[in-house]
């Protein structure tokens, strides 16, 4: 059915062009695929080679992976955190958990040092109030 392609007629030229196009596409897809597979293999190897430590419960590991609100055992603190607004929470958590300085936070938020400090102390004041409220 298929005759030898001499690249003479228009259709044959188109076929040759298409074959070249396809060959390049196939080669690239193949290289991508092989790279992907290699990367996947690497990841699998890493987890496989980790020694399984039975002394340390996996429960704790799972716990650490949870988002912050679910990690808090103290519901009072959670309540207090909910009581402050997003900006205050950001400053408070960055300061307490990430141990960021007021200076770096001020730079990030486009505020002055005093502005950030005010937000931080206001957040603490609010939270203390909330926690007191709940204890009563």
């Amino acid at each position: 059915m298929w005759q030898k392609n001499n690249g003479k007629s228009e259709s044959e030229i188109v076929q040759n062009l298409f074959t070249a196009y396809l060959t390049t596409a196939v080669r690239r897809r193949r290289n991508d695929y092989i790279q992907q597979a290699a990367r996947l293999q690497q990841k699998e190897d890493v987890t496989d080679s980790l020694p399984y430590n039975q002394e340390q419960g996996t429960e704790e590991d799972m716990f650490r992976g949870l988002p912050l609100p679910m990690q808090l055992e103290d519901s009072t603190l959670l309540y207090a955190l909910k009581g402050i607004n997003g900006r205050e929470r950001h400053v408070f958590l960055a300061r307490v958990l990430d141990e960021r300085s007021f200076e770096s936070l001020a730079e990030e938020m486009g505020l002055g040092y005093k502005g950030v400090a005010t937000i931080y102390y206001r957040a603490i004041r609010k939270m203390k109030k909330k926690m007191k409220e709940l204890r009563k």
């Binding site: 188109v14 074959t19 193949r30």
Partner: protein
């Protein structure tokens, strides 16, 4: 039917034409799907998709 005709038909999404091209280029795809001397079924599928994309994208 010339190759150009088949390609044009496949471009408009005519299934028999696409299948004809898939059959025609099967050896190329199979050859490309061999990794480390072993035929990789997943890669073959990917290359079939690549062929269909090529049919759509090819300009002449």
């Amino acid at each position: 039917m010339s190759f150009k005709e088949i390609l044009l038909r496949a471009k408009t999404g005519e299934e028999p034409a696409v299948i004809a091209l898939l059959e025609m280029y099967k050896p190329l795809l199979v050859k490309g799907a061999i990794v480390g001397g072993r035929f990789d079924e997943d890669l073959y599928q990917e290359l079939c998709i690549t062929l269909i994309r090529c049919i759509k994208l090819f300009r002449f």
